[in-house]
């Protein structure tokens, strides 16, 4: 009798505890997610509050950097970053997309593809400072380039290759098989099918991946500290001339710069970087959105 009485009571108690645990867990999980958002919000807020006034000063954005005196600008750093991004993308896109086409369209599952995937995974896991050391040893010293635009771009190309390859491969694999079959059925060759049908359909996905890669190139500093100058008063005038990109220069400003207004320069550079990256994110989002809208219309 007693035992029979007991069981429902205990189970009721258990149910209450379970409910309490559920509420607590829900609250905690909400809190964790909100902490993440709050951290992000305060970081971006801090950067913009500190940096907006600096960044919108034309003397800062369009000015010449100063090694010693106050009042330096960042135009050559911005230009260097833009050149570096363009050069890296010119190197990386054909190779990355080409490799992705091979993996998605030509290679099945074989020892070769497993090897390629292992190579890509390895490159993706190696810390960027190690790429910096590698670039120093190979491009800067062994090839005798010295720290320059090309050395930085080659290093960044290798660093970002896995990401470009992965996003491109995903975009290619997302193209419906029926497209390929239709094209092949019409007598087109495999390469014609890829070029005329598969690749165009994958362009939005590849572009989005490319834009995210641009963001990573703009923000990269560890791979560039040994492969490009950290400070230079002029933007590069040729592929093999120096020039300092903005992110590594921010590190230089924080650790080595001796100008009296280093704090202000750092604030402006941080804000410039974040604004660029926010803008790129918006563009990527916009493209993805447009693409989805068009897909919707087709379907």
């Amino acid at each position: 009798m007693m035992g029979e009485m007991h069981v429902p009571a205990r189970s009721r108690a258990r149910k209450t505890t379970a409910k309490t645990a559920d509420t607590v867990a829900t609250v905690v999980l909400w809190a964790l997610a909100l902490v993440c958002l709050a951290v992000l919000g305060s970081i971006i807020g801090y950067i913009l509050v500190k940096g907006l006034a600096v960044v919108f000063d034309p003397k800062f954005i369009l000015g010449k950097p100063q090694a010693i005196n106050a009042g330096g600008g960042i135009l050559p750093f911005l230009l260097s970053s833009i050149y570096l991004t363009l050069l890296t993308m010119v190197i990386i896109m054909p190779i990355g997309v080409g490799a992705a086409i091979y993996m998605a369209e030509f290679a099945g599952e074989s020892r070769i593809t497993r090897l390629v995937r292992f190579g890509a995974d390895s490159l993706a896991t190696v810390p960027s400072i190690v790429f910096g050391l590698f670039g120093l040893a190979l491009f800067v010293v062994a090839f005798g380039m010295g720290p320059c635009l090309m050395a930085g771009a080659l290093t960044l190309a290798l660093l970002n290759l896995p990401a470009v390859m992965r996003t491109s491969e995903e975009a290619l694999r997302a193209v419906p098989a029926s497209y390929r079959e239709a094209s092949l059925g019409l007598g087109a060759s495999r390469w014609q099918t890829i070029r005329k049908v598969v690749l165009p359909s994958a362009v939005p996905g590849i572009t989005t991946g490319g834009i995210l890669t641009i963001g990573r190139i703009l923000g990269e500093s560890a791979a560039l500290v040994f492969t490009m100058p950290l400070f230079a008063t002029k933007a590069p005038t040729s592929l093999f001339s120096g020039g300092a990109a903005i992110a590594p220069n921010l590190w230089y400003t924080l650790t080595e710069a001796i100008t009296p207004d280093a704090q202000r320069i750092a604030q402006g550079e941080a804000a410039a970087l974040v604004i660029l990256i926010l803008a790129l994110n918006l563009v990527a989002r916009f493209l993805a959105h447009r693409y989805q809208a068009r897909q919707g219309m087709v379907g």
Binding site: L62, I68, N69, T233, A235, T255, I258, R290
Partner: protein
């Protein structure tokens, strides 16, 4: 698809136009009177201590002489001297004297500045004079509390330069008798950052070049002698060194013009004097 392509093309064109405008604006603002006649190349490498004034000199020099290409690289004093002897550069920058094995190569020494190092503390510290032994004790980690040197009871936070810096090399040699500084010391990569760290960290002590001394940190006397140009030149204050530009023999042509520019009254007063004792005052 076509509209997407047009969009990208338009964006690229816009970007290109923007770049051109911005690039031209950047080129057009050299205000100083320029001298087109001088042409040639000057290359420098070496000490990262000499790098900032040398970069500034290069930039100003190229504004005056647009036909000249001056390239400046770091690498350290030893790199500069080695590259000079190998003929890879025209000028080797150094923050130390030549070693015995580096002499007899016909290097000509151009002293461009005197660097005086002062020991600085957080402004909250009451101590204002340290003996050589006390400085040595603090920076080697033997003395770890301000009360050991006559201050309040508080742990000392030591800030030093990175091992590869010429300033650290000189300080270790002259102030620490070539002993190693404490492993607990925070390492910073520049005078400016040492100053900032000492200024913002309570109980901190460090060392910086005289030119960086400002109200944010407190300069300490060393063996009761204040670090200054006069005490350094009179050799009563030992923590100082010359900054050099070495050339192989008498500098020729454009290299000579560049050295003259670095040693000119204007450049020395406008730039070098901000950090160091200018060569014009030696």
């Amino acid at each position: 698809m076509r509209s997407g392509k047009r969009w990208i093309l338009g964006g690229a064109l816009l970007l290109a136009a923007l770049l051109t405008v911005v690039g031209l604006a950047g080129c057009g603002n050299s205000s100083t009177t320029s001298d087109q006649n001088l042409t040639g190349k000057v290359s420098l490498s070496g000490s990262t201590t000499v790098l900032p004034p040398a970069s500034e000199a290069a930039s100003q020099f190229m504004d005056i002489h647009p036909g000249v290409q001056v390239s400046v690289q770091g690498g350290g004093s030893s790199v500069g001297i080695t590259q000079l002897s190998q003929g890879l550069v025209d000028i080797g920058m150094s923050s130390r004297e030549l070693k015995s094995e580096e002499q007899n190569q016909g290097f000509l020494d151009h002293k461009i500045a005197l660097d005086v190092i002062v020991v600085v503390a957080n402004p909250g510290m009451t101590v204002d004079d340290l003996t050589k032994d006390q400085v040595k004790g603090i920076f080697t980690g033997q003395l770890t509390n301000w009360k050991d040197v006559g201050g309040a009871d508080a742990p000392i936070t030591v800030v030093v330069r990175d091992k590869a810096s010429g300033t650290r090399e000189m300080f270790d040699e002259k102030a620490l008798d070539s002993q190693d500084s404490t492993t607990a010391a925070i390492e910073a990569n520049s005078n400016g950052i040492v100053r900032q760290t000492v200024a913002s960290t309570r109980n901190a002590i460090g060392y910086i070049s005289l030119g960086y001394l400002d109200g944010t940190v407190k300069a300490l006397k060393y063996n009761s002698v204040e670090g200054s140009k006069d005490t350094a030149l009179a050799k009563t204050y030992p923590l100082s060194r010359f900054l050099h530009m070495f050339t192989k023999g008498e500098p020729q042509g454009v290299v000579g013009v560049f050295i003259d520019f670095v040693l000119s009254e204007r450049f020395q007063n406008d730039v070098v004097a901000r950090e160091y004792i200018p060569a014009t005052e030696l």
